[in-house]
């Protein structure tokens, strides 16, 4: 039964998930193409120096920063928007399952896909970094990159909440809340500067995972 739900979710998001993953790999590839080029043209030591002391962040460009956000947004839309067309979510709620559990399984599957893609991208990023950089540089780079991926999860959970919400007025209000909250994951800061905030950022991400239950409940109670 639950496998069947996963099957349905996969049918909805598969192409978007694959494109997101592929784009992630391309972006990381592009970063290290550039690193390799810079190593060739300015000396390696100077390049390290610029990272350590001049605030050069070799991975910092907007495509990489916002990729998890956009990827999560697209996957969440692909997954939840078809459920709201003609209120199709009724079909899911009518399945012989507990409604909240059904929503949670949908959410877990989407979050798992995001996690898998994030893992692939981060792993590739780390492995390629190991060829060029010492642990100190890689560590602070990862600390800077992790909030962007956490942001992806938060955006995914909030998008689920907003898309499933039956009343347009509240969708707009939720969007405002998202607009106040999501930027805390996207502050511009020195490499590694996010380290003290990470534990709470992770906690918030985990807590928000159940957000969609709220709009699901409102739908089932007949808000419109």
């Amino acid at each position: 039964m639950w496998k069947s739900i996963l099957y349905k979710e996969w049918l909805k998001i598969r192409w978007f998930a694959i494109i997101y993953a592929a784009l992630g790999v391309l972006v990381v590839g592009n970063i290290f193409l550039k690193v390799q080029h810079d190593f060739e043209f300015s000396q390696a030591a100077n390049y390290w120096y610029s990272i350590l002391f001049q605030g050069n962040r070799f991975y910092e460009y907007s495509l990489f920063k916002f990729l998890p956000l956009v990827g999560a947004l697209v996957i969440a839309m692909a997954q939840y928007f078809p459920e709201t067309v003609n209120k199709r979510i009724k079909l899911t709620f009518h399945l012989p399952l507990n409604e909240n559990k059904a929503l949670l399984v949908m959410m877990f599957f989407g979050a798992f896909c995001l996690l898998a893609i994030a893992a692939v991208i981060m792993l590739l990023f780390t492995l390629l970094s190991l060829a060029y950089f010492p642990a100190e540089i890689i560590q602070s780079a990862l600390i800077s990159v992790v909030p962007w991926f956490l942001c992806g999860f938060v955006v995914y959970f909030l998008t689920a909440l907003i898309v499933l919400e039956p009343v347009w007025k509240y969708r707009f209000l939720y969007l405002l809340v998202a607009a106040t909250f999501v930027p805390i994951y996207l502050q511009t800061a020195a490499a590694g500067a996010y380290s003290p905030a990470l534990p709470l950022l992770i906690v918030f991400g985990v807590l928000l995972s159940v957000a969609l239950l709220f709009s699901g409940y409102r739908f089932r109670k007949g808000e419109m």
Binding site: Q43, A44, A45, N46, Y47, W48, Y49, L52, F53, N100, L130, A131, Y132, F133, P134, E136, I137, S140, P147, L161, Y170, L173, Y174, L176, V177, A179, T180, F181, I184, Q187, A189, A190, A191, G192, A193, Y194, S195, P196, A197, L200, F204, L207, L208, V210, A211, L212, L213, F214, G216, Y217, R218, K221, E223
Partner: protein
């Protein structure tokens, strides 16, 4: 579970709002206040004050209005070039003949802000050759870390240089260095007059001077008074070459470290807290001006060249909280959450709770408003108690949050 999800959403909204609303408010209403620039005059033996944002820009400590020209003449070692240009530079001050070239050697400027202290550290540093026989310093091709030993990593290959690492580690070990290093302080740039390596604190809070001369390690342990610990050590490269570094201790004292004899000399100043204050140290032929600037005061302690205090001057300035706009803010918002703080380069959750309790009044008012909203919705009062409690504690943030995520249907 649904109830739980609602409270999570309210919580998240409160966090978002407590960052954004006070920030909007500040952007809209905050007025800039610049700290006055307070310098000790070697002519008048009084403090000269420059306020860039006031109508009366130049005064002395008694408030006497000065012209710019007079002001600059009171600080001849600060505005030497201007006075020379105006041909008003005195030949002698305090009975001492002034040679402009000579006195300018003693001029030094230093400044540090808390956010430079509270910042991610690079952990890897280049060790320059301090006696290369070249006029200019050259960037080495490797960087070192001091963990369980001192390790040099070649940037080109990203591999550890075993031989060099062993050589330096052995010397450090012999000199009694306890690995790993707690802090590594130096001036890691080629754009300095010469290299003096690094001042390193080991895990036993001992201070070492480490440099490389002709490819060979130079390691010297610096004797410290019992129990002395440092908030930060700031290496300096001044033209008088009198000091290696300013050292700021845990109990807010200021020391300098002299070269060759490695003497720690105390500055006769107090409350030098780099964790919270911006600190500026201006040295000249006669005096040191040690300036501490915080949100609510500016203080200049004037020292002579023997590091003894000759005078001090302090001025308080109103913080945002003390200004009318700030008071209204404290009335509106129970707290302010920031992801970034003036005193830190880290991203974190910086919670500043309102010092006055005037926000409780707003909370009370909003509880009453919410009470009427509940009545209008014909909800049972009992089921809304937590919402009211949330509003009571978080004021306007909670009020907005519980109404964005209404308690309809959930009992």
């Amino acid at each position: 579970m649904v109830k739980f999800s609602r409270y999570i959403l309210i919580f998240v909204a409160i966090i978002g709002l407590s960052i954004l609303l006070p920030q909007f408010y500040r952007v809209a209403f905050e007025k800039s206040t610049r700290a006055p620039f307070i310098q000790y005059s070697c002519i008048d033996h009084d403090f000269m004050i420059f306020r860039s944002d006031a109508d009366v820009k130049w005064t002395n400590s008694k408030g006497t209005k000065l012209t710019r020209e007079v002001y600059e003449k009171k600080l001849p070692l600060m505005y030497t070039r201007q006075l020379v240009m105006n041909e008003t530079m005195p030949d002698s001050i305090n009975g001492q003949k002034i040679n402009v070239q000579h006195t300018s050697t003693f001029r030094s400027t230093f400044r540090i802000k808390p956010d430079e202290l509270h910042a991610p550290k690079p952990m890897l540093y280049p060790l320059f050759e301090s006696q290369s026989g070249r006029a200019n310093l050259e960037m080495p091709g490797n960087f070192f870390r001091i963990t369980w030993r001192m390790e040099f990593i070649d940037a080109k290959t990203n591999n550890i240089l075993e031989e060099k690492s062993r050589m330096f580690s052995a010397v450090l070990y012999k000199r009694g260095f306890k690995f790993p290093a707690k802090s590594i302080n130096g001036i890691p740039t080629t754009r300095k007059s010469c290299d003096e390596g690094y001042l390193v604190i080991d895990s036993a809070d001992q201070l070492f001077h480490i440099k490389m001369t002709k490819g060979v390690p130079f390691v010297r342990k610096v004797d410290l008074p019992e129990g002395m610990k440092f908030k930060t050590i700031q290496c300096v490269d001044f033209s008088d070459k009198l000091y290696y570094a300013y050292l700021f201790t845990e109990n807010n004292e200021l020391y300098v470290l002299t070269p060759y004899d490695y003497m720690l000399e105390k500055f006769d100043v107090d409350d030098i807290n780099p964790d919270e204050y911006e600190i500026r140290i201006y040295g000249d032929y006669f005096n040191f001006n040690v300036i501490t600037i915080s949100n609510d005061f500016v203080r200049t302690q004037a020292l002579n060249r023997d590091h003894n205090k000759v005078d001090e001057y302090m001025e308080t300035r109103p913080t945002f909280e003390q200004q009318p706009e700030g008071k209204i803010a404290q009335f509106l918002f129970p707290a302010q959450l920031k992801m970034k703080d003036d005193n830190s380069s880290y991203v974190n959750f910086f919670l500043k709770i309102s010092k006055s309790y005037s926000w409780l009044f707003t909370s009370l008012l909003l509880i009453v408003v919410q009470y009427f909203i509940i009545r209008q919705r014909k909800k049972k009062f009992r089921t809304e108690i937590i919402d009211l409690l949330i509003i009571g504690i978080t004021g306007i943030f909670g009020f907005i949050a519980v109404n964005i995520f209404p308690n309809k249907f959930i009992d």
